[in-house]
């Protein structure tokens, strides 16, 4: 055992307090959307084709929903990691997000099932006008190691 402590202690279902909150904010840039499309292979014209997007009900390119959903992971990580693996992620999408929008994610531990080592984190994404973009939750299993 080295004297330097370079690793955080792992969290457990008992050590994460009920009601704990975490926040994460990020402005979604042009680069994010382009990288995301390339990484996941989703070149849906609504997200990558301005001419097409202008003709739809949204009037502008829309950030892929999966990019919004993935912004909820930093807050779950802050609340339950290290020590957790995510087993379920779900989300409802209420309004589109556009390039340049700043998304703020609020995460809260809303349920703890101690005997199953499960923590449920509710994650809500707001845009810069405090409108809800996505509301969902993640089921975290506290079992690593």
């Amino acid at each position: 055992m080295s004297i330097l402590q370079l690793q955080e202690k792992e969290k457990t279902v008992e050590s994460v307090p009920f009601g704990a909150k975490a926040y994460f904010s990020k402005t979604i840039t042009e680069g994010d959307v382009a990288l995301f499309a390339g990484i996941v292979g989703d070149f849906a014209p609504l997200s990558v084709n301005q001419e097409f997007a202008e003709k739809t009900q949204f009037h502008n390119r829309v950030v892929p929903n999966m990019l919004i959903a993935t912004l909820t992971w930093p807050v779950s990580t802050e609340l339950v990691s290290p020590g957790a693996v995510t087993i379920t992620q779900e989300g409802k999408f209420f309004r589109p997000a556009y390039v340049g929008d700043t998304i703020t994610v609020v995460g809260e531990v809303t349920e703890k099932i101690i005997e199953k080592k499960i923590i449920i984190v509710r994650t809500t994404c707001y845009n810069q006008n405090d409108e809800i973009v996505m509301d969902g939750s993640a089921v975290e299993l506290m079992r690593v190691r």
């Binding site: 690793q7 994460f24 990020k26 994010d32 990288l35 995301f36 390339g38 990484i39 996941v40 292979g41 989703d42 070149f43 849906a44 014209p45 609504l46 084709n49 001419e51 097409f52 003709k55 739809t56 009900q57 892929p64 929903n65 999966m66 990019l67 959903a69 993935t70 912004l71 992971w73 930093p74 990580t77 990691s81 290290p82 693996v85 995510t86 087993i87 379920t88 992620q89 779900e90 989300g91 409802k92 999408f93 589109p96 079992r143 690593v144 190691r145």
Partner: protein, 149 residues
Amino acid sequence: MSKMVFRKTRLEELKPGDFKLFAKTLSDTDAMLYAGVSGEMSPLYLNESFAAKTELKSRTVPPMLVAGLAGGAIYRLLSPAVKTESRTFRFLRPVYTGDTVTARAEIKEVDCAAGQVELVVSCYNQYEEKVMEGICREVLISENEESEG
């Protein structure tokens, strides 16, 4: 402008069981770029010496990246565009850097009047083990000329 042509999915022609696939080898570069885009910095995905000590044995690919591949399959099934109502994913197995993941999006139910489609999505690794499954509810949309939008 008028030269832009998109394949348009006709809901009447879709029936339960229709599916599309999208496969991709998930490289280290993908995982690192993804960390930058998403802000997800869990040591399980970024720290090899931490991950090696866990039951996962090695760094894994962020599960949402795997779920993202489902978006690639959905786009191939429902084009040109969808408005997502909800998506739910369950992650069944870890995916490691270098694994080839095949995403499959299959029609479960079509409501032509509302334009709504319910899809079952699943992802498999190169050993044909299911790594993820999920349900997506989507609404097919199009340019304003064709729909009142």
